[in-house]
């Protein structure tokens, strides 16, 4: 029988060096405990896709030298300021940047979800984003009259990694209204999930819960990580930790401070 519930480190085995990893935006269930575990393990050369933006998660992974390529629309700490390790890495040329715009990432993952090679999107024509995205193409709409439109190739991640409120022992994961988590999972070859708790019974048995459930069919492995999104929020469950994020912004402003942060909050497992 399929037994998806594992230890955190075992669950993360699917996230291999060099893989294309898709993660959710800063407020929809970011797997931060899993991110810290990946940094401890020393994962390398990730092609990180942040759907469609990121905050602490991307900044941490970039600062810890886990990322080769970053594909996203923005990285920022929001009210706590710019994402310092991201900005430093781009300026130093330490990561390859694939700049996008939010709906382009949603659309490209939807293409993978549907098993089609591309998705069209309005906007973009005249933006310098197009100039630096050789993989995005402008065509004349076959249904229009001299109507140019952009085509975006499907993004097919190797792994989707997300955090959710609960899962059952059959691998079904309750994501509630954070439906972009389902898009990520549908698009990716494998999905790894951390959850606050294990639900007794089968989530698909209750039609109210089933509507907000990602079926275990798509799920490779699950690990329990209580407060696994900390210090970011888990929507409808807990808020962000503003004091911690302010401390991160202060420390990560320099390479030395960032190293100190990693030591205190990532490598020292008790703190994490």
């Amino acid at each position: 029988m399929f037994q998806p519930v594992k230890s955190l480190d075992d669950a993360l085995a699917a996230v291999t060096d060099g893989c294309t990893l898709v993660v959710p935006r800063e407020v929809s269930g970011v797997p931060m405990a899993a991110t810290r575990a990946l940094i401890r393990r020393g994962v390398k050369r990730l092609h990180l896709v942040a759907l469609p933006t990121s905050s602490l998660q991307a900044d941490l992974l970039i600062g810890a030298a886990c990322v080769a390529t970053l594909e996203t629309s923005a990285v920022s700490l929001g009210e706590f300021g710019p994402a310092p390790r991201f900005a430093a890495a781009v300026i130093a040329g330490a990561i390859k940047m694939l700049d996008a715009t939010c709906p382009a990432l949603h659309a490209a993952l939807q293409a993978a979800e549907k098993g089609v090679p591309f998705m069209p999107l309005r906007g973009l024509i005249g933006s310098d984003l197009l100039k630096y995205r050789g993989d995005w193409k402008v065509i004349d709409s076959p249904f229009g009259n001299a109507d140019p439109i952009v085509l975006l190739p499907a993004i097919k991640p190797d792994v989707a990694l997300l955090h959710a409120p609960m899962a059952d022992r059959f691998g079904n994961v309750w994501i509630g209204r954070q439906r972009e988590l389902a898009t990520m999972a549908h698009a990716a070859a494998k999905t790894v999930v951390t959850v606050e708790k294990i639900h007794d019974g089968n989530l698909l048995d209750d039609p109210v819960l089933a509507a907000g459930t990602l079926p275990g069919f798509y799920v490779e492995s699950i690990a329990v990580a209580e407060r696994g999104a900390w210090p970011l929020p888990l929507p409808d469950h807990y808020a962000a930790d503003p004091e911690h994020l302010a401390e991160y912004a202060r420390l990560a402003a320099t390479a030395e401070g960032f190293a100190d942060y990693l030591e205190r909050y990532v490598y020292d497992k008790r703190a994490a």
């Binding site: 933006t53 629309s73 929001g78 715009t101 709906p103 309005r122 024509i125 140019p148 209204r177 898009t183």
Partner: protein
């Protein structure tokens, strides 16, 4: 105009200006890192007794999306969002916004967070209000180094949307025909100062009025009713500008 006694903060004046620009519409959406537009949108909703519908990105209480974050963009693509807000590390006189970097893209001097949804929403939302609190030659430039989203498009490009105005800490510009026009100068600021600190050319009528100060009713509404609603997404802003903390949210 100098040494005026003021009983309001810059943020309150700017939110009042933006709320007027929003006008009578069905749906206003506010993106990331936009506390002043969020204040304005919620103020407009209070004044309109529930109209417009306000969607605040990052706020479960103030978003109806049940189909993931893409629903915002799908709504916009269909014309279901009437007003949106954009800022920029640089904004130029043609209404181009740069949210990416300064210098050469491949060897940037300063890296900004990124384009967010600008390269789509600027095209499809009918009224896009630009806001940039810092009004300086550093931010308002002759030509942006990187066009995240252009102010105008070629005739054959699908473009029902675009910029209508730019709000800064010194003044309000309107945007039409590919150019900015100085519409009003905020209390305590002067036309000469606006010219000195603006890196692009703009139209200027013979007489430029002063931006009206927020009325006592508006200030009361903002401070007592709107500010507590901001703590969910903008706790620091709500505390610094309105002195409102988590306690007010629980109330």
């Amino acid at each position: 105009m100098t040494n005026v006694r003021r009983d309001f903060r810059d943020e309150e004046l700017l939110a009042d200006v933006i709320a007027r620009l929003i006008g009578d519409v069905r749906h206003v959406a506010v993106g990331n890192a936009s506390p002043i537009p969020a204040t304005a949108a919620l103020l407009a909703r209070e004044r309109g007794k529930g109209r417009p519908y306000v969607s605040l990105l990052g706020s479960p209480k103030n978003t109806f999306w049940t189909d993931g974050a893409r629903e915002l963009f799908d709504c916009a693509g269909q014309g279901r969002i009437d007003v949106f807000f954009l800022s920029g590390g640089q904004i130029d006189g043609q209404g181009n916004v740069n949210l990416v970097s300064t210098g050469d893209y491949e060897h940037p001097k300063v890296r900004f967070p990124g384009s967010f949804g600008s390269a789509y929403l600027y095209y499809v939302v009918p009224k896009v209000i630009l806001f940039r609190v810092e009004h300086s030659r550093r931010t308002l430039v002759p030509r942006v180094d990187f066009i995240s989203a252009p102010g105008a498009s070629e005739q054959n490009v699908y473009r029902p949307g675009g910029p209508i105005a730019l709000v800064t800490n010194r003044c309000l510009f309107s945007f039409a025909g590919g150019r900015f026009t100085l519409t009003s100068v905020h209390p305590g600021h002067t036309i000469e100062e606006v010219i000195e600190h603006t890196g692009f050319d703009f139209e200027r009528p013979a007489a430029v009025p002063e931006t009206p100060a927020p009325s006592p009713d508006t200030l009361r509404l903002m401070r007592e009713t709107v500010a507590p609603q901001l703590t969910e997404v903008y706790p620091q802003f709500a505390r610094q500008v309105f002195g409102v903390g988590q306690a007010a949210r629980a109330r």
